[in-house]
């Protein structure tokens, strides 16, 4: 049993209830106890920063301060939403790096009777905890119903792997952790080229032309690879790609139909949880058809874009090392 502080974030209470329920279910299966930070507030998303930097960071830091108060021996905050995760971690980072700034934020916090010592809390995304703390072995142990036959596009988005101060994530452009996890669940994973591209963010609210284009790029690329579903790990990404997929189709006169699911929903299914307990059915683009494949052997889509084969002609260089695997890099050694 491992225990963490938990910062759910606003979306988990509203648009991403499916995520919330599936996270709870999966964590229970994996013996992960999540202690929700009492009386947490919104992280401000990307909006508050746009307006007023100091209050924005003070808003975020209030959560860190509460977490520090309630830590009770724990020092890790788990956030399932990439934006929340980034905001919390960034506030901690800048308060630490820029001492004057840290002092300023603490002056603000003091007005509400709070204080936060930068560096006290470690903020981690749920995926990171599942892969690196719980471990793939334990995940594999829990699988009772492999997702054999389901073709998935792993989609990480922006704010988990970037920015990469402190080199906190394996790879800021082509990370493979989610691929490995989904593959472990039994799914067929495409090498999704846009796995860390942008979902449109708040552009759906302020610049639909841009937003639709960004959504289209992702959906059409997933469709090119004949993915059955696209797997997300951030409520904002899921919402943009799911809720606006129809409008995007209208805008471009296309007819894509790619369900957008949370990785925890697929984990839950593989762990044998009932779909209704995992928030299935709440998606705009229905996953019904795709999900019918699970447990039932269905043939691969015939016109699927084939995975890049070994070239017949000249040999390829060996693939880039996966996370955790050490690749020898001349200069890394030199810089030691």
């Amino acid at each position: 049993m491992s225990e963490y502080l938990f910062y759910p974030g606003c979306s988990m209470e509203s648009s991403a209830k499916a995520y919330y329920h599936s996270v709870m279910s999966v964590c229970k299966s994996l013996d992960v106890k999540l202690n929700e930070i009492d009386d947490w507030n919104c992280c401000g998303a990307t909006e508050y920063l746009s307006l007023d930097i100091t209050p924005a960071y003070a808003l975020i830091a209030r959560n860190l301060a509460l977490a520090e108060q309630q830590a009770n021996g724990l020092n890790t905050i788990v956030a399932p939403c990439s934006a929340c995760y980034l905001n919390l971690s960034k506030a901690d980072h800048y308060m630490h790096e820029d001492k004057a700034f840290g002092k300023k934020i603490n002056t603000a916090l003091a007005a509400g009777g709070l204080h936060y010592d930068p560096g006290q809390m470690v903020v981690r995304h749920l995926l990171d905890v599942v892969i690196n703390e719980v471990g793939m072995d334990k995940v594999k142990e829990r699988i009772v119903k492999p997702l054999t036959g389901l073709r998935v596009a792993p989609y990480i988005g922006c704010m988990l792997p970037r920015p990469d101060y402190n080199k906190r994530y394996s790879d800021s452009e082509h990370p493979y952790e989610l691929d490995d996890l989904l593959r472990a669940l039994g799914a067929e994973v495409i090498d999704f080229p846009l796995k860390t591209a942008c979902c449109g963010g708040h552009m759906t609210q302020i610049g639909p032309d841009t937003a639709f284009e960004l959504i289209r790029r992702l959906i059409s690329s997933a469709d090119d690879y004949k993915a059955d579903v696209l797997v997300a790990l951030c409520p904002m990404c899921q919402m943009n790609l799911d809720a606006f997929q129809g409008q995007m189709n209208g805008y471009f006169h296309t007819n894509y139909h790619i369900p957008i699911l949370f990785f925890t929903q697929l984990m839950g299914l593989a762990f044998g949880e009932k779909p209704e307990n995992l928030g299935f059915g709440s998606e705009f683009v229905s996953a019904h058809e795709a999900m019918q494949r699970i447990g039932v052997q269905t043939p691969l889509p015939d016109a699927a874009k084939p995975a890049p084969k070994k070239p017949a002609g000249l040999p390829m260089p060996p693939a880039r090392a996966r996370a955790g695997q050490k690749i020898t890099i001349g200069n890394e050694e030199a810089s030691k």
Binding site: D224, G313, E333, S335
Partner: protein, 676 residues
Amino acid sequence: MSSEDKKPKERIGVYICHCGSNIAGVVNVADVSKWAGDNLANQGVVVSRDYKFMCSSLGQELIQKDIKEQKLTRVVVAACSPHLHEPTFRTACKGAGMNPYLCELVSIREQDSWVHTDKIAATEKAKAIVAGGVSRVVHHEPLIPLKVPIHPATLIVGGGIAGIQATLEIADAGFPVYLVEREPSIGGHMAQFDKTFPTLDCSACILTPKMVLVGNHPNVTLLTYSEVQKVDGYVGNFTVTIRKGARYVKTADCTGCGICWEKCPKKVIDDKFEAGLGYRKAVYTPFPQAVPKYPVIDDINCTYFQKGTCKACEKFCPTNAIDFTQKDEIMTVEVGNIILATGWDLFDARRVPNYGYGRLANVFTNMEFERLSNSAGPTGGNIVLRDGKTTPKSVGIVHCVGSRDKNYNNYCSAICCMQSLKFAHLVHEKTGATVYNFYIDIRTPAKAYDEFYQRIIEEGTLFVRGKVAEITDAARNPGEEGKLIIQVEDTLVGKQRRIPVDMVILSSGLEPRAGSKEVAKTFGISCSADGWYIERHPKLDPVATMTEGVYIAGCVQGPKDIPASVAQGAAAAARILGKIQQKEIALEPIRATVIEEKCSGCRICNTMCPFSAILFHEDTMVSEVNPALCQGCGTCVAACPAGAITGTGFSNEQILSQIDGLLLLTLDKKKEAAVA
């Protein structure tokens, strides 16, 4: 304790330089000179003068005259930095019959008049500095430079073009050279290239004759497939331990006929010479013109070594030259000087994930392209995509991959611009494809380089000024389907562009060899933070290192092109030839010495020396400093708990007295304050 009543044992002359107005403009030199004469007489100052330009011949004559007439035993000159004129004044003193090391130059220009504006404070400081010098010089001892004989042989490590050039220069001058190369053949990276910029000479055509000369030279001992393990000794007298790798081929019997590799059934991807694009056998020579011509058996891939059966090569060898029982051989050689020319490694382009190398088939590195374009390469010189047959219709060449980037290497790799221009030409010439060059800046600062750039522009290469943001196969429209899309801001237009191409060539930068730090340690030289070896002086002494007798040439010192590498190889050779001709070398006598009777053999000093100059004699339980190895840093002197090590030139007495001198005025002042 007080020695004020004692008569000073030295006769000291003090000379304060005006340096025109450089010093005199801020420091009241007359005051300093008078003060020193009056107040330092008790320390032995008998003459104190100031003069317009001490370094002028008149100034020097002034000192010489005083030495003779006033019977001076010590001289203190207060002028510019010792780094500038210490040799001048030492020579002047020597000319008057004084040991040059009894002269001390203290700086009142760089460290006083030039950095201060307060004239009173600067004058006070000058007095303190002079007093420090006077107190110090009393404890100077006459020194004689150490002379050691120089072994005429030279070790050259690395058989690339820089090492080859150096080898030929020295060997042609009639002195023996040991050339050690890690690979089975000499030639280095240059052997892999197709054409060389800007002349577009065939690389092999200009390199091979030199390789042959090295291979046949009577003065050259060529040790390929070998590595230096250990270096002992010091300038003029190095003992080098070399491990000769087992080739499993008796070179005395081998004719280099090639039947063994023809018959060998094991095909291996050649990630060295062919940059991973071609294949070799488990028994191989890296390339047809290899020097020496003898193959090696790669025991990691050889079926016999791995599974115990095969021996095809042995069966077919017409001269029975295969010998599976060979073992690595350890040998030692004696040399007087060493040149390190171990070259560079290619930056691993897989570290830049957004360029997709290793993930996207038709993204190539520069070394891969060299092999593609080389008519002796895996495609016979046809520039084709990874499928091995399709000729690209459009090619993007990306500059600065891994260079000039804080995420990877900060420095400019120096050769990529010209190399990329060369690639543009080759692609254009061989395929007629549309070629784009993506650059941040075009850097062509050498003879005929910019003319080459002009030529490439004229040939129709399209230049886009912008660092490529990403290379992707995710098409956004049908026009991009099946292509690699280079996404970049055309900074001159101020717009983002997506340029679909068939092939991308990454101009990966140069990196120090993996393990360069360890090699530096073996040879006792230092690395910059990047890993390049540090030269003695970046401008005025680029091929020497701080370690006497160890020189560097070519890309070990920093990224550079072929002409510069050749020039450095030749320069290092010239430096060494000069040394060998002198037959012996004078060493600066700043050295540490163990006073044997005071040493208790505690061995604390033993780990202090990075040059292994400290020897411990188990029998007498005493440590000893080898003066020829000692570089004079003084770290052991400071470490010795018993005070049993002394450092000539920087002894405890000298420095402690200098501290007293520097603080003399302060004490006077404090005393005055106390009296008041």
